[in-house]
């Protein structure tokens, strides 16, 4: 590099004084540090969400064009029908999605909590080995994992075939057929690490001298769990539950694979409407129920924990 180009390069690099000036005021600091993230969120979250809300209030005409005139017809169409309200497809689909997401969340919590507690108490090499084993399947594609469960379930799947072969049952068990149970197992497997890692972070920050103090003062194991450990790890439980419940509610791939068409979760209902009828207004209105549910879940969560606590510690 010759001297003239080197001096040009140096002159283009901001000096320390320039950098200090750029960060001189609070507004500038905020702009430089949070600005890119805010632009990212505005473009990829706020704008599509605004568009979805808008589209939920418009209609699609006979030539499949969006008619930009406000209407609530899409919301009315969700609940239209001559059957009792709870028997209508959208309502049943929504309630089923809530139920599947709730059971998935509870299963993840029940399965992950003891393991997270053990990891937090043991630490060291045990922690590394167990975490590696837990995360190992997640190095593969989500679709491959869903497909693996597809092979496990079914009347002739690995589970039923094994039970039949060793003579425990005489005919395939319905529980291991495709449907709601298979979907819950698939979703629990998919979202288990989110719960485990969040709970671990929470339990790792727990002051275990409090646990010992409770035991010394005569509390039983269950009383210690109920009165000391659970209240202190509540932020981790809530944040882990949100990380599982929210994606499970709108799940699409897992129910497509493991429901075998006999189960209609809300994501599938929306997809079918849009691909068959180009009913983007109906789909957007239905999606609003997912969005509103998530907002309510966060509002409820914030009643019990602060946003800082949602990190799990």
């Amino acid at each position: 590099m010759n001297e003239s180009s080197e001096s040009g390069w140096r002159s283009s690099v901001p000096s320390r004084a320039d950098l200090m000036a750029a960060f001189a005021t609070r507004r500038r600091r905020l702009g430089i540090t949070a600005g890119p993230a805010l632009i990212w969120l505005a473009l990829l979250l706020a704008a599509p969400l605004t568009f979805m809300v808008t589209v939920s209030f418009v209609s699609v005409d006979q030539s499949y064009q969006i008619v930009w005139e406000p209407t609530t017809a899409n919301y009315a169409a969700l609940f239209a029908g001559d059957t009792p309200l709870l028997q209508r497809a959208f309502v049943k689909s929504l309630l089923l999605s809530y139920a599947i997401a709730a059971v998935t969340t509870i299963l993840c919590l029940v399965l992950a909590f003891p393991l997270a507690y053990l990891l937090a108490r043991k630490g060291g090499r045990t922690f590394k080995v167990v975490i590696f084993l837990v995360l190992l399947p997640f190095f593969t594609m989500y679709l491959v994992r869903a497909y693996s469960w597809y092979l496990m379930f079914g009347p002739s799947g690995v589970i039923n075939a094994t039970l039949l072969r060793i003579g425990i049952v005489n005919s395939p068990i319905g529980l291991f057929n495709y449907g709601v149970s298979a979907i819950i197992v698939g979703l629990t497997h998919a979202y288990f690490p989110y719960m485990l890692l969040t709970l671990y972070a929470s339990l790792d920050g727990l002051d275990y001298s409090l646990v010992e103090a409770a035991r010394d003062l005569g509390a039983s194991r269950s009383e210690t769990l109920r009165d000391v450990i659970l209240p202190l790890t509540l932020p981790g439980i809530i944040s882990g539950s949100l990380f599982v419940f929210v994606p499970a509610l709108g799940a699409f791939v897992t129910p497509e694979f493991l429901g075998q068409g006999k189960v209609l979760m809300i994501g599938q209902l929306i997809k079918d409407r849009i691909s068959s009828l180009y009913a983007v207004g109906y789909g957007s209105a239905a999606s609003m129920f997912i969005v509103v549910s998530i907002v309510i879940a966060f509002v409820v969560a914030f009643r019990y924990v602060s946003i800082e606590d949602l990190g799990g510690v």
């Binding site: 499949y64 497809a89 495709y178 068409g261 006999k262 009828l277 180009y278």
Partner: protein
């Protein structure tokens, strides 16, 4: 000594003229890259997997003088919804099932149909296809004197079964809906298509609503839709599931997950071709639904004539035969039989056209919203 029009760096100098020449060359190269090189246009196609067969693709590219970029799709509804959402500007050709062509004709873009009328001169093989398909195209794809779609290959739906466990019987949809139609327990051994049109049509034909399929659109009354829905809900406890994709059907039938299933003939022919002789295909007495894939060209295509020439090649005798072999489904052009073996012709290549007359072609649906609502109630029951 550098002159005014020379830049200097690292001891090397470049004249402005040389720089402009290099930039111009780079630009031409870049533009050529967009058109596939040497000015060869690129035709983008959204279609089924078999159309991307390498032999067919290379022959068409050579004959028509284009580059083909083929994106695979697994459903006609996705082709329709993605084009309607704006991808008609990205693709030149789509090849959905015939019942989606009228929907594409109805979809307006920039004040006209989303798809372009057929360039009759470019599709010279059109005259050689079965008369039945010319009639279908005339009745389903023609509007204001313009035809908008070209049939390519076809097949039909009925049901298939494992002949090792299901006794001989008169072919009827009753086997899917009546518990005692055959002398074997089929509870939990049945599958239906995961598609509102195919599953509800089978139920409608079983219920004797054949008249609804006679017009230009399938038109079930509200009462009939309700009966169809109830029939499918009653059937659901006996179902193993609803299946969408052909490979899933074949794999699941081979695994023994079910015994009887609503299916296309091509799935079973594929199994016969791979040496399985136990699957049997039934054409129900109430009527079979015949599908035919039909090619359309986007109104936004900048290479419409070339696009129609590409479609013409897909129904040429040689390429049509290769396509038939790839998907185990016959071409609409009977001359393809010359390029198939006797066994291939027997299994799928040579179809007696009179058989088509007995079948019910896929059609658009009147009041599809009511069909979808009923289907959702079946699925969520």
């Amino acid at each position: 000594m550098p002159t005014d029009n020379t830049s200097q760096a690292d001891g090397r100098s470049t004249s402005r003229r040389a720089f402009l020449a290099a930039a111009g060359t780079a630009s031409v190269t870049a533009v050529a890259g967009c058109t596939g090189g040497s000015g060869t246009p690129t035709i983008n196609i959204l279609t089924w997997q078999e159309y991307a067969d390498e032999d067919i693709k290379s022959r068409i590219e050579e004959t028509v003088g284009v580059n083909l970029e083929i994106t695979k799709s697994t459903s006609s509804s996705n082709m329709f919804s993605s084009w309607n959402a704006g991808q008609y500007q990205q693709y030149d050709i789509a090849i959905p099932n015939n019942n989606y062509v009228p929907k594409m004709m109805e979809s307006e873009k920039d004040g006209g149909p989303m798809i372009a009328p057929v360039d009759e001169e470019a599709v010279s093989n059109y005259g050689g296809m079965y008369d039945q398909f010319k009639q279908f195209a005339d009745t389903q794809f023609t509007q204001d004197g313009n035809r908008y779609g070209v049939p390519v290959r076809f097949g039909w739906y009925g049901y298939s079964y494992d002949s090792r466990s299901v006794p001989d019987h008169e072919a009827s949809y009753s086997i899917l809906f009546e518990e005692d139609y055959v002398d074997t327990d089929l509870s939990g051994e049945l599958v239906m298509y995961d598609n509102h049109f195919k599953a509800m049509s089978a139920a409608a034909l079983y219920l004797g609503y054949g008249d609804a399929f006679e017009g230009s659109k399938v038109s079930l009354s509200q009462k009939q839709i309700h009966e169809v829905k109830q029939t499918l809900i009653d059937q659901k406890p006996r179902l193993q599931g609803y299946i969408a994709a052909d490979p899933t059907y074949i794999k699941s039938l081979k695994q023994g997950n079910f015994t009887v299933g609503q299916s296309g003939r091509n799935e079973i022919v594929e199994m016969w071709s791979s040496g399985d002789d136990w699957p049997a295909m039934a054409t129900p007495k109430e009527g079979s639904l015949a599908w035919f894939e039909s090619a359309v060209v986007s109104s936004a295509s900048e290479n419409k004539t070339k696009a129609w020439e590409v479609i013409n090649e897909y129904i040429s005798p040689q390429n049509g035969a290769t396509l038939a072999k790839a998907g185990f489904s016959p071409s609409v052009n009977p001359k393809t039989q010359q390029h198939l073996s006797d066994k291939e012709n027997e299994m799928f290549g040579a179809i007696d056209p009179s058989r088509l007359g007995e079948m019910i072609p896929f059609k658009s649906v009147e009041n599809e919203n009511a069909w979808i609502t009923a289907w959702e109630e079946v699925k969520s029951a």
